[in-house]
Symmetry: C2
Subunit: 353 residues, 2 copies
């Protein structure tokens, strides 16, 4: 079956040109159909200019655009004909299988929940992010959708992140770490301490607390945190990576020797850039929604857009959502059995395997 991905073609800070180019590349490199939602005059013109050799690109008109700093709830209430809303409507009506948007991520999440609803038993859908590390990609959740959380929410983020890591990166029983400020279970704020107890009692492959510096080592597969902390981590990482590159460039332009060195090592810099480029990973999946959605970085270019479209298709094909529901139900069963056995006292997670 050919999958059809709806792309919010008006989202993102670089304009619809990049979105359209990304869509064309995705279609040319795969068997996917892509539906562009947005201003049909603009989109038709852009398609004509680039004249792709494919019939697998479609346009659905949307008269409104949600701006980047607009309140998500205002946006879904007042802009029912936005390019984001139209994209999710297509999925709701069975005319598309998933959505990609580089627009307002809060509005994208709100539209997703409004149109598609939540997965069974999921209290709070969230946004997962894929971090590059020294070893393998890491899934971090939540990175911005839920700024004030309860322990149960963090637990479900762990379940969702694990299902994604397993299905997309083929990591069996992914290890789950809880982001805290000390490795011992007693370290952290009240939220994290209580979430630690929930994870410890579960059948998940929970490895305990991890710290900020563990993110980039690549020794853990899924890191769980609330959306405030996760979003701060994401933006600190982006800001620092940019600052380091900028400082290195400055230092390297200060002498002829260093300049020559830079020229000789240029390819190494390029490879490095590729390893830390968010465009390689495409975007951040919305998990917990009863459907498939990907939010991309606001500055997504054609390549990031293309990759996000492919990841959306991969999420649908690998049935991530079924897996989430399955792990959650298994983990509830274990919790219920434990409750009967020992009245809820903490067990060694290894014992439950």
């Amino acid at each position: 079956m050919t999958l059809r991905i709806a792309l919010d073609a008006m989202g993102g800070e670089l304009g619809p040109e990049e979105m359209v180019s990304g869509a064309i590349q995705a279609v040319e490199e795969s068997d996917l159909d892509v539906v562009l939602t947005g201003d049909e005059t603009i989109l038709n013109r852009l398609l004509q200019e680039q004249s792709p050799s494919t019939t697998r690109l479609h346009i659905i008109h949307a008269s409104q655009i949600v701006s980047m700093d607009e309140s998500p709830f205002e946006a879904i209430r007042k802009k029912k004909d936005s390019s984001i809303a139209r994209a999710f409507d297509l999925v709701k009506n069975g005319d598309a299988d998933g959505v990609v948007s580089a627009g307002n991520s809060g509005a994208t999440m709100a539209s997703a929940i409004k149109s598609l609803g939540r997965l069974e038993k999921i209290a709070r859908p969230g946004i997962a992010s894929i971090f590059p590390t020294l070893k393998k990609p890491l899934v971090m959740m939540d990175v911005g959708a839920n700024v004030d959380c309860r322990p149960q929410h963090l637990f479900q983020f762990g379940v969702m992140g694990a299902a994604f890591s397993d299905n997309l990166f083929q990591i069996k029983r992914p290890s789950i770490g809880l982001l805290s400020i000390g490795e011992e279970g007693g370290k952290g704020n009240v939220l994290v301490k209580n979430a630690h107890e929930l994870f410890s009692k579960s059948s998940l492959n929970f490895i305990g607390n991890v710290e900020g510096r563990d993110i980039f080592q690549g020794d853990v597969d899924v890191i769980v945190c609330d959306g405030f902390v996760g979003n701060v981590c994401l933006k600190v990482s982006e800001g620092l990576a940019e600052a380091i590159i900028s400082m290195l460039r400055t230092e390297m332009s200060k002498s002829i020797m260093a300049k020559m060195g830079y020229l000789l090592a240029r390819k190494a810099f390029g490879n490095f850039g590729k390893r830390v480029d968010y465009a390689e990973y495409g975007g951040a999946p919305l998990l917990g929604v009863n459907g498939t959605g990907i939010v991309c970085h606001g500055r997504s270019n054609a390549k990031a857009t293309k990759n996000a479209i492919k990841v959306a298709a991969e999420m649908i094909r690998s049935k991530v959502n079924d897996h989430i529901v399955q792990i959650l139900s298994e983990s509830e069963q274990v919790q219920a059995e434990e409750g009967q056995q020992d009245n809820g006292a903490a067990m060694n997670p290894g014992d439950t395997e």
Copy 2:
């Protein structure tokens, strides 16, 4: 008057050798006295080995050591003769003017509060950290002492950070940003939204929310956050900087060309390393304590220790604590006057200048 700094010579992961070397360097480069607290047999031997040409180094015996992962409250209750406790006792008894420790930072904070108490009206002392940025050093507070905070605590972190930034970096009316996940005042979690209101009503130079990526740009002087978020930021930054350097080294060793390039650009790498080296800044000041204390990174070497000793002296000379009390009292006056004028409604911070 000669200042005397007490150094917890048993703290830190690199052993007392580095502490003793740092103390010797500090004394040789300044007119300070340094008192080393710790095992006198070990410290006497180390001093003899390095035979410094100074009489401004002293040893006070302490029979116990607080380990890095020990509970701070257990440590101060059970280890009254630890090198940390002895250092603060010296200050309490007027035999030293400030303390530097690279040991257990929680225990250092707990000892400081126990021996010296809090500054007038300060609810929660905290740990400030100095971040390198593309422009000037940034003060971030709190970075680990207070993991669950109320809005008033964040407000006081801003006051303390501003006093430190003014006195140590000569920045008049330092700009204060509140770390959040969106620039608008309405963005963030409940804690941050409420703190935003407090700052907006104050006479401080509050510039509103800032985001994680603003940390390294150097456009804001003080960033305020709770100790959980601050500590995560600190460790994410350390971990990412290390990962980037490691990735670049790997890429640069992959070809002869890149290797030659690295050799030519070596000095640039060195300069870069210096810019991001925490040892340049020495350590993180404890602010809000009725006295002077600096906690250093656990992996502090002699240079970091030396610099921390100098920063401690600078904090004492510049009377940071007097400044904190003064700003806090001024800001309370403004709050009280506003309360009378408009019954507490939010004013434009610009209006109060």
